[in-house]
């Protein structure tokens, strides 16, 4: 039971940054010219480690650099790391979507990867046809699909619509059918991306349930995520990637704890957000430049907390509204403080430049644990100026009024309601 089924040996992957276009021909010619003379690829040398926060002076970056690890049969391995740590690149190499720049991966047994459900679904085809098509794309033979067809239809709960084109399906039916096909793949090694677990909570549970089911049957699973909750509940081993390098590996619990500790170390009292990459908004009109915990970190449950946001404005801004959200490490938002919850929290900025705003939380309702902070500001009701998901993380520890025997995480929020006794026989 302990033989190696995946052996990753010194995998590296070099990516070209920026636009592919101008310069590619000259780089290609140069590369070819070096090759003809028997020299090393000139662009392999100048690649730098993948650290997004620093602006490199090279056009090339290592998404992965000399990563090696082994996976044994029956292990459920979680691959964790921050955004851009190289998880997705590793996944793509393992699922053979792209090849490494150097190094080797050796695999024993049939491998299947689920980077997405419903890959290759054709909206014009019926559910039945799509089961066959999707199954074949995922590597199943026709007899195999024939054999499992009824099971797949049962699992998907769309039997009535099986001969209807999938473009008429509701999105829920579509996803269920797609997942049903994927769930009935029977590979010896399964690679799963966390994006698979999007969708409603019911569906997530079904995905997770199916995965632990597969794991119990002695199959090997690689699960890629930055959702620590999912990794801890599903995996027994973990590998931590940081900036494209193998950072730590071992028991999921140990790696997970180390990962959380390291990430909270980064949550200093004041976090500069100037260089952090934005997802949607570009921060060109207003940019949240820093978040500061005025009463120090860690925060204490039930105590007063003051948070300061610093925002740099390029121009005058009317009707400014701010928001701070706290999410659990599983990525579930538990508390949101929007400034426009009352009228005094709508500001107007008369002079461009950096302004600061303060939020006072009377009694922090968050249970002890680690939280990820989202910050945002908008002008008016729907005009977003800047939004940062996971801008910082912070630890909350128990305060003077937190119950002494604190039972782990039965809830993320602990409030103090007013309790009274209405019993007749008072003592």
């Amino acid at each position: 039971m302990s033989d190696t089924v995946i052996k990753v040996e010194n995998i590296s992957k070099l990516y070209r940054l920026g636009e592919v276009g101008t310069g590619t021909i000259s780089h290609d010619l140069n590369r070819w010219w070096h090759k003809v003379r028997g020299k090393e690829d000139p662009y392999l040398k100048i690649g730098q480690t993948n650290d997004r926060t620093q602006k490199g002076d090279s056009d090339y970056a290592w998404a992965l650099k000399d990563v090696s690890f082994e996976v044994k049969r029956g292990e459920v391995l979680g691959i964790i790391g921050r955004n851009g740590a190289g998880k997705s690149t590793l996944l793509k190499i393992l699922s053979r979507v792209t090849t490494p720049t150097s190094g080797e991966v050796k695999i024993k047994g049939r491998i299947a990867s689920l980077l997405e459900v419903g890959t290759g679904f054709n909206p014009e085809l019926t559910g039945r046809d799509n089961i066959y098509l999707n199954g074949a794309i995922l590597g199943m033979r026709k007899q195999e699909i024939n054999r499992k067809f009824d099971e797949i239809v049962d699992f998907s709960e769309v039997e009535r619509y099986i001969d209807t084109p999938v473009k008429r399906y509701s999105s829920g039916m579509y996803v269920r059918l797609a997942f049903a096909v994927a769930a009935h793949l029977e590979p010896e090694i399964l690679i799963v991306d966390e994006v698979l677990a999007v969708g409603d909570v019911q569906f997530q549970k079904k995905c997770m349930g199916k995965m632990s089911d597969v794991a119990r049957h002695g199959k090997t699973i690689l699960f890629v995520s930055h959702n620590m909750g999912a990794v801890l509940s599903l995996c027994n081993k973990a590998v931590w990637l940081a900036n494209g390098k193998y950072f730590m590996g071992g028991k999921a619990r140990e790696v997970g704890d180390a990962y959380l500790n390291a990430n909270t170390l980064q949550s200093q009292q004041r976090v500069s957000l100037n260089t952090v990459a934005r997802a949607g908004s570009d921060g060109s009109r207003a940019k949240i430049t820093a978040i500061e915990w005025l009463d120090g970190v860690p925060l204490r449950h039930g105590c007063s907390v003051r948070v300061r946001l610093e925002i740099a404005f390029q121009n005058l801004t009317e009707d400014l509204r701010l928001g701070i959200g706290f999410s659990t490490i599983e990525g579930i938002r538990v508390v949101t403080y929007d400034s426009d919850a009352n009228q005094s929290g709508i500001f107007s900025i008369d002079t461009p430049g950096t302004h600061s705003f303060e939020l006072v939380i009377d009694k922090l309702p968050l249970n002890p644990g680690f939280y990820s902070i989202d910050v945002g500001c908008k002008s008016g009701d729907d005009h977003g100026l800047d939004y940062l998901k996971g801008a910082a993380s912070v630890e909350v520890i128990s305060g003077p009024n937190t119950p002494a025997h604190y039972f782990g995480k039965e809830a993320a929020v602990r409030l103090d309601g007013l309790w009274k006794s209405n019993s007749t026989n008072k003592t």
Binding site: Y15, D28, T99, S113, D129, A136, I137, G139
Partner: protein, 305 residues
């Protein structure tokens, strides 16, 4: 357990036959992912393993093309018919280009039927990587399955146009027009010609598609170039009436011999065996080069597309 056994076995083998190169440690790996495969590894067994997928793709193409059209497959009928009528009017009627004594309709149909098949194979397969980037970025299967499935699905279009051609041929034969098909050779050579066209279209198509992943300029060139190439092929003008000054263009084109042969076996005339042989050799070379480059590109194209 198992791997240990093999290790012991290889070790004992090494001691007894010392000059043998050391076997790679218990080499029962079913898959090794390396930076670059060797260029001569065509990975055709891999494609064979995914043959079910190939049929799924063909089926998908067939079903999804006719969905929500009123005329359905008749469209494949109308398009060549109109083109042929156009050719007849412009080239035969107005410009008076010789058709070698054959009825113009039949002459043009004998050219456009095979040419259309080749041209659709080429243009459609040349977009393999770009059109399927989303699919290819999510799951692995031998990418070659996609262009092959395109070539196979195009057979449907070809057969419809071929039926149209046969219909006209029958009409003229019954009418008593002077046509002398090589009946015996037809049966043997038609599938060969079809295969040659398919392979040539596939070979050039995947070559182009491999190059377009990096340099998109080629996509513009393909649709345009295929149109131009038709005039460099004896689709409209029989090779016999091309001035010697320009003849080399047609002779250099591997499709010329195929179309000439196609027309000769159905409508009568000399079969250019020699040219056909050369054309077959060129097709094979292009195909091998195409597959080799395609396989190389499929490994890294996700990074450049």
């Amino acid at each position: 357990m198992n791997s240990q056994h093999t290790k012991i076995a290889t070790n004992s083998l090494k001691t007894s036959v010392a000059q043998l190169p050391a076997a790679e440690s218990s080499d029962d790996w079913s898959l090794v992912i390396r930076p670059q495969g060797r260029w001569w590894e065509l990975q055709l067994t891999d494609v064979w393993h995914y043959r079910d997928l190939l049929w799924m793709f063909v089926r998908r193409d067939f079903v999804s093309v006719y969905k929500q059209t009123i005329l359905g497959p008749i469209w494949f009928f109308i398009q060549p018919l109109l083109t042929t009528i156009m050719f007849t009017v412009i080239f035969s009627g107005i410009a008076k280009v010789s058709t070698g004594g054959l009825p113009p309709m039949l002459f043009y149909l004998a050219g456009t039927t095979p040419w259309n098949y080749f041209a659709t194979c080429l243009t459609k397969t040349s977009g393999t990587f770009i059109n399927n980037a989303n699919l290819f970025g999510k799951v692995y299967f031998p990418r070659l399955v996609t262009p092959i499935s395109i070539v196979v699905s195009n057979l449907i279009q070809f057969s419809i146009q071929f039926l149209l051609f046969l219909g006209f041929l029958a009409y003229y034969l019954i009418k008593g027009t002077e046509i002398h098909p090589h009946w015996l050779i037809i049966i043997g050579l038609t599938p060969v010609l079809l295969l040659l066209m398919a392979l040539l279209g596939l070979g050039t198509g995947i070559l182009v598609s491999s190059l377009t992943t990096k340099y998109r300029d080629l996509t513009f060139l393909v649709t345009f170039g295929v149109q131009l190439a038709m005039y460099g092929t004896p689709v409209i003008i029989p090779m016999a009436s091309v001035p010697a000054k320009y003849l080399w263009i047609m002779e250099a084109n591997p499709m010329s011999a195929i179309i000439e042969t196609f027309r000769s076996i159905y409508l009568g005339g000399v079969i250019p065996w020699m040219q056909l042989g050369i054309s077959a050799a060129v097709t094979l070379l292009l195909l091998l080069a195409g597959i080799a480059i395609f396989n190389k590109v499929e490994k890294t194209f996700m990074d450049t597309v």
